[in-house]
Assembly symmetry: C2
Homo-oligomer: 289 residues x 2
Amino acid sequence: MRMAEPPEPSITGVLHPGDMGVTVAAAAARSGTVLWASDGRSAETCERAAGAGLTDAGDLTALIDAADIVISVCPPHGAEALAAAVADLGFTGCFVDANAVSPATARRMAARFENFVDGSLIGPPAREPSTTRLYLAGPDAASVAARFAGSPLEARVLDGGDIGSASALKMAYASWTKGTNALLVAVAALAAAEGVSDELTAEWGLSQSGLSQRLTYTAIRSAPKAWRWVGEMEEIADTFAAAGLPDGFHRAASEVFARLGEFKNARSASVEQMLEALLNPAAPAGGAG
Amino acid sequence: MRMAEPPEPSITGVLHPGDMGVTVAAAAARSGTVLWASDGRSAETCERAAGAGLTDAGDLTALIDAADIVISVCPPHGAEALAAAVADLGFTGCFVDANAVSPATARRMAARFENFVDGSLIGPPAREPSTTRLYLAGPDAASVAARFAGSPLEARVLDGGDIGSASALKMAYASWTKGTNALLVAVAALAAAEGVSDELTAEWGLSQSGLSQRLTYTAIRSAPKAWRWVGEMEEIADTFAAAGLPDGFHRAASEVFARLGEFKNARSASVEQMLEALLNPAAPAGGAG
């Protein structure tokens, strides 16, 4: 009987440690080394990665040579190109797409890999326990989940989940949360265009508790992130269409977020600025998805 | 100096006393006679009108001969035809359209009358005080509002409101309340189609308090009324488009409600029945608006 070889060290690669991704990387760092690749990333990303104690592999080639699991956390419109780049470099480990993409997009990515796990993230960046879930589906889901044991990021393996089911869950979840954000902004813009903003605010005060506050909060917190949600809304709309359901809610939401794209580098926006951007879009709407 | 003639008696006509309309009629009945027209109406409507102490004028011609103010409360897809019928019979009093129509539809109706007041109703049928507002806009709005003094229906005249502004307020208000109802049902149908209903319900339990309960409530309370909202969603979509805003949210909502049309004569629906109707529509979707 041959002696068992010592287990390979666990090395997780995370592409790319943005605001959410860095908390995923930090959660995996409890169970072993976590690599990232600084090549072509912004100074802000470098600073975040260093602060989280991640190891810089340099570039993508070096990262995939070393890592046995690579997790992709990026804006949805870039997810498929990133998966293709990793596959084209000959990665033989387990690729986890954790992005907000349709089940069909997830299945197209899966076809490029021997080992693929369909993932999705629900919740804010995972800085505290019990706020954020990483849903995982596919044959290797449990081994990916093990990397997050005891971390603030709760990894949940979907029972009998086929590739696409973690993505479907995210699509359904975000279709409500972000879809209603987009609708709320559009409703406020309609009232402004029709000169009945004060009357709507007064009526909301009587019968829709908290809605005016939510509008203000959306301007402050969501307007700067809207550019990233254009592609996500298109992925959601595609998911509705594939299920034979109307896709118009999220095509419209995509257009709303595209019109808010000008706040990409802002710290926040006021309600007035947000409605102005919606009613007088600077450039032709749509497109970014 | 000629002696002032005694004031004309105040006679209000209400077309037609449905579930909402009968409470509007009952509210006006405190200030004078309220007529309705039984010609061609259902037994249920006759019973409701009798119970509210309304006077049956018989038919539309008799009603408009007697009334100085006529208030239209009907499904939005029938509003314009009803206004046209009243105008074509030569009504010279004040016509109030209180329906969920776009400002453009209100303005088209207004063009048929010497005296027109643009109205809209927000809230449930006005059985108790402080639940329901009748918004009114136009030169004669105050005299219409006077008919509801001291009643459970609070009449609010929009300051300097042009014809169309009461309708615009309703469109903006309902675009959120009914638009989110339609979206919620569609989201649940998507999760069902993708086999992740239980997972979505569990995640909602963690991070979207009350949403599962709202879904159940929507099935019970909204599915039977959905047929009436198809036209309202189209009016809202037209209002968004006229303001240069994306109309897709409410075109999609219209289709969702059209697929729920089969519950028109049901007392309620279960979530399962509702999702089945959405995912396997009996007839080609759309159309009823």
